[in-house]
Subunit: 191 residues, 2 copies
DNA sequence: AAAAACGTTAAAAAATAATTTAACAAAATT
DNA sequence: AATTTTGTTAAATTATTTTTTAACGTTTTT
């Protein structure tokens, strides 16, 4: 009787967590994070103590090397950190649970890389195109195309610089002055 | 002699475009767009007239069905549009070249989906967890866990709502009041 | 010092995803 | 009306990625 209730509660709790785990994983998949890695993060999101590779292995039912590489990728995008606790000699990992931090790392880091990568190629390209424009006796049509490309790339460059400033404002937290974090906690509505 | 110059110019121009095409494709790959689809978009970015499937086929050296599905995916993320021109009865496609529009569609649409998807599961989950809390004679440890989960999910919900507002401000253009698009055109520096 | 535990790398296997060829349906042309 | 053109779907193939098992080196424990 008591046990039945206990079991019902456990089921509810696990259903609840699974529901969110699935949708977090699906979301991450949307941005190119593989389902397993997404599920690993999502699973860790509900753990309140740091996890070992063996914990992950058991939770996801996968091999240890898989967990090793998966957790490294999560570390690469800065949404999982290695933590230290005296006692266990196993590596311990903890998920970033603040989604604003998550956002900042996941998108901020990628935007930064995107801007850098593209600015470099845009500038190289514009240089080459300028060279074409500076050449004499060149086909008019080709010059027109070079000019058009330069025009377009200049706009693209503006976008990259904008991205850089977006990253700044996300990483500094400045963006939250413009778009404040509102507490829509339903508890207050219930009163 | 003349031809040599002409060829040199053409080479420069093509190198310039290829440089940017590669980095756009690499960038898109960063967010889970497959290399071929990324390269298709990047190629279209440099075309000033709409393209047919056969054009794409020739440009990328791929089959027509591949182009058909690739271009549909680009349409799905709203960065390529079908256009109509009298005369040709083939379908014609044009890439979105304004990267601010690109950004808005690529991230805005995904964030919107992300928020919706997760809000739905978060609310369902919180409901289940509340149910656990309302049950009597339940293991203290389990109630604690349910409470902790609710707390965490409430914060997650705040993030999702923030995302929704971010999408709004990106799609309305409001964000550019906070982060203005600056023209960093180097021509002005040359003066 | 030997044995066990731990995490990673390497190679092999399995699973997915991308791509093509072939077949098809709809529309336009002759 | 028959033929061609066009875009898509389906099936088959190829390529890529993910996952595992096996092997390895390091560190810790005994």
């Amino acid at each position: 009787m008591e046990d039945e209730k206990q079991q019902k509660a456990e089921e509810l709790l696990e259903d609840a967590e699974r529901l969110v785990i699935d949708s977090i994983a699906e979301t991450m998949d949307l941005y190119g994070v593989t389902p397993s890695i997404g599920r690993l993060y999502a699973t860790m999101y509900f753990k309140h103590d740091p996890l070992t590779l063996d914990d992950m292995k058991n939770d996801l039912g996968m091999s240890k090397p898989s967990m090793s590489t998966a957790v490294r990728k999560l570390q690469d995008i800065n949404i999982v950190k290695k933590v230290w606790r005296r006692g266990s000699r196993k590596d311990l990992f903890m998920a970033e649970k603040n989604f604003f931090q998550y956002f900042s790392h996941f998108f901020g880091d990628k935007w930064e890389r995107e801007a850098k990568l593209n600015l470099s190629s845009i500038n190289d390209a514009i240089e080459k195109l300028q060279e074409v424009l500076n050449m004499e006796e060149i086909d008019v049509e080709m010059k027109r195309r070079a000019e058009q490309d330069i025009q377009q790339l200049t706009e693209y460059r503006n976008y990259c610089h904008w991205l850089e400033r977006l990253v700044e404002s996300v990483e500094s937290g400045e963006i939250f002055e413009f778009l404040p974090i509102e507490d829509t906690d339903s508890k207050r509505d219930e009163s």
